[in-house]
Amino acid sequence: MTIRREVKLLRHGRDWRGRSTVPKSAQPHELEHEDREFPTAWARTRVAVAARAGLRRTLLKPVVWGQTTPVVEGTEYLDGVKGPVVFVANHSSHLDTPLILGSMPERFADRVATGAASDYFFDVRWRATLTAIFFNAFPVERYGSRRLRSLALDLVDQGWSLLLYPEGTRSEDGWMNPFKLGAAALCVTKGIPCVPIALRGSYAAMPRGRNWPQPGKPRVTVRYGRPLTPEEGEDVRSFRVRMAKAVSQLAAEEDIGWYGALRAAADDRLQIPGGARPTRPGALKPAEEPKAEENGTAAGSPGEQVAHWRRIWASTEPLGGKRRKVWRD
């Protein structure tokens, strides 16, 4: 073998300093550091709140509203509500938080803290800093691996409203995953109301893996629902079901209208994510074939496992069913 080929073989996979990548199976096991939690208290000081309000008005909202066409409904339900409350929403895109923060009344937007995955948003310093300053984020343990005490209870005690995504992660295909118990447990133990929010179209606008919205100002809808208050003696699991139902109902409004969604909820025809099976936001149960067909999405037929591509296909369907007008009438 010539020396050049020998060196080429030797250099394979090594950087200019001659360091090789370490095979996955050879990486040393590292114990998690229990003490390294990114401090976020500074992001809730008066100065930081003012800075965040400025950033939201001058940067976040103009950019998001410039790149998408948000339709916001139901903010009137918040009129008489006093904080703290827990906002819960379905989650399928990085657009979700800016859309919610940009669309909610200012008095809430200034006093809301967002639960963000500690393993993703708080793993490196620069990302943690940006997330904290823009979204008033606090770290949430998704997998319970580090057993950190959650900040959520303290924040509620301090009068902060919370924005939580009970699915625990961004959806991979735009469909809703089953809700975890945390948000419901928080509402029940603290006796505070929960405001359901349904987002439609944000997956189509900016799915996982994209870092900028799709071109063409796609339409996204943000619907606020009537606040739900845990009833006397209501347990966490049944409150979680109510919560999921409310979000599903709001999502269904996009397809079948406000009254249709009310009727579907009353007749118990809404598909609610449960078990390990995701559902299309706003999908109806299969018994109501005619309604489902009205929706025009065969992939919405729930209750069975649907192929991955069909889920994405259904999630990326443009909202409103018609193209955006370019010219004014």
Binding site: M1, I3, E6, L9, H12, V22, P23, K24, S25, A26
Partner: protein, 525 residues
């Protein structure tokens, strides 16, 4: 603490891996998903070896301290492992020299006059005076050579003593001087789990008459593996013989274990895991490999053969063999044992330049076979790393070269016997006796530096278990003629070898590469 051994899964982040290939080495990119068995990192050596030896001699297991066993006027015989251990030879001073010097100091203090030193070489070639001097050191050599520092002669019938037969009818015949001593002090190096223990005296000092009871095809096929003494028929036989020897003579055993510092610092990359090579390792890899290829064959061999390992000593234990050997085996396992999950369809081994029988000599094709299918294949506990009917791929050029002085009977074995058959049972029944009793081979064994006439047969039996177990054997880069003569096949590249293995194991076999040396003992679950 040293890192334990582990099994690597080859992924896209894995750099090309090192393979030994005779008097050379190469980098090879293994297929994704292949497993690679690495030994534990080299253990730290004992800092003060002399103090450890003294402590072992004064605090032995299961017997009185050595000085109390020594009396004026006694017959003391010190036996030591021959040059087949360790591999490669260790940098001087050899640990055997350190031990023998301390034993002799104690013997001198006690007024022991009748001391004899014997190399336990059995049917191996005699050690040359230079080799003896290197092993026991200048002081001992000058004081005892040649009258009282000798090689064991397994064909000197006047100086052999038949002690009787074991309950299985095995003859026990060992060196008369040792057998009639008041005390045998055996100085051992346990490099692999097969050596040491009962093997020391019952094999090292034995004759052909005694050795043929365990060095045969039947025993070796039932030694699975011979590196796992409880599952080794060969070691059961050693134990029976040792029992008989213990009735006649007292043996004080000193066993030592070494770490995995197999190559000197100039070739330090051979001791390291490939993804941990720094720029210096990479530069020395390219330089050493290039220089190795450019050197004339003779010089290349001389340089490889003069390589000495900077081994550290990981344990010195003395006393009764039955109490010492379990501790020694524990030390060997601590350094070499790696747990492996399950067998695979294909096993890959890179065969290095040295085996126990070509120190300062030539690795002939029979020795390549014995190193690959004997020693390396048997570096397992419980189960072989390759399944029954699987394929073994070895890296070695298998040149058609023999050392005419050291291996005369090998030449005849290769040219005349292997042309008839490669079946170990047939060779054993038809030809073994003839080679073992050939007067010319005996003459060369006793007076020249030749391995005994029967030795090539033993080498072939060494691989008998593997021959029975494996579906196919392929040598990458192997000489076509010599590999074919031995009943194997040769391939130019690993890809070709895997292509050839398709007939036996299909197109997507599971592959395990045992990264040797430094030595790894696979504990297959």
């Amino acid at each position: 603490m040293s890192r334990p051994g582990f099994v690597l899964d080859v992924d896209e982040r894995t750099p090309p891996l090192l393979m030994h290939q005779g008097e050379g080495f190469r980098l090879e990119r293994l297929p994704l998903g292949a497993k690679v068995i690495y030994p534990p990192d080299s253990l730290p050596g004992i800092r003060n070896v002399d103090a450890a030896i003294k402590h072992a001699l004064l605090n032995p297991h299961g017997t009185d301290p050595l000085p109390e066993l020594l009396t004026p006027g006694m017959r003391l015989t010190i036996v030591f492992d021959d040059l087949s251990l360790p591999l490669p030879p260790m940098q001087t001073p050899d640990v055997r020299q350190r031990i023998i010097e301390q034993v002799l100091e104690m013997a001198a203090a006690k007024g022991v006059d009748d001391v004899e030193l014997i190399a336990g070489n059995a049917l191996h070639r005699r050690m040359t005076p230079a080799e003896l001097r290197r092993t026991v050191g200048d002081r001992v050599f000058q004081a005892f050579f040649p009258e009282h520092l000798k090689n064991h002669d397994a064909e000197d019938h006047d100086n052999l003593l038949h002690m009787g037969k074991t309950k299985h009818g095995e003859d026990v015949e060992i060196n008369r001087r040792a057998a009639e001593s008041d005390l045998i002090v055996y100085v051992n190096i346990t490099l692999t789990a097969m050596s040491g223990g009962a093997k020391s005296v019952s094999v090292g000092l034995a004759s052909y008459k005694s050795l043929k009871h365990h060095h045969n095809v039947h025993t070796l096929r039932h030694s699975n593996s011979f590196n796992d003494p409880p599952n080794s028929a060969m070691h059961h036989s050693y134990e029976r013989m040792k029992g008989l020897i213990d009735e006649h003579v007292k043996v004080f055993t000193i066993e030592t274990t070494l770490n995995n510092e197999t190559f000197p610092s100039s070739m330090g990359f051979l001791n390291k895991r490939e993804w941990e090579w720094n720029l210096r390792d990479q530069a020395s890899y390219v330089a050493v490999k290039r220089a190795n290829e450019l050197l004339p064959a003779k010089t290349r061999r001389r340089i490889w053969q003069s390589t000495a390992a900077p081994y550290g000593v990981t344990g010195v234990h003395a006393g009764l063999q039955s109490e010492v050997h379990p501790i020694t085996l524990g030390n060997v396992h601590r350094q070499q044992l790696t747990e492996v999950n399950g067998q695979s369809d294909v096993a890959i081994y890179g065969l290095p330049y040295i085996c126990p029988y070509n120190v300062n000599s030539v690795m002939n094709p029979i020795l390549v076979m014995s190193l690959g299918l004997g020693y390396f294949f048997n570096l397992y506990k419980n189960k072989p790393i390759v399944r029954q009917g699987g394929v073994a791929i070895f890296y070695h050029p298998v040149p058609n070269e023999f050392h005419p002085v050291h291996h005369p009977s090998y030449i005849d074995f290769f040219e005349e016997i292997l042309t008839e058959s490669t079946d170990p049972v047939l060779l054993e029944t038809k030809y073994e006796e003839q080679f073992a009793t050939d007067p010319w081979y005996i003459q060369l064994y006793r007076n020249s530096y030749a391995y005994h006439g029967v030795h090539p047969f033993y080498m072939w039996y060494w691989g008998a278990h593997a021959l029975e177990h494996l579906g196919d054997v392929i040598f990458v880069g192997g000489n076509r003629k010599t590999t074919a003569r031995m009943g194997f096949r040769s391939a130019t590249t690993l890809a070709d070898a895997l292509e050839m293995a398709k007939d036996t194991v299909g197109s997507s076999p599971s592959i395990t590469y045992q990264h040797n040396p430094p030595l790894t003992l696979a504990d297959v679950r």
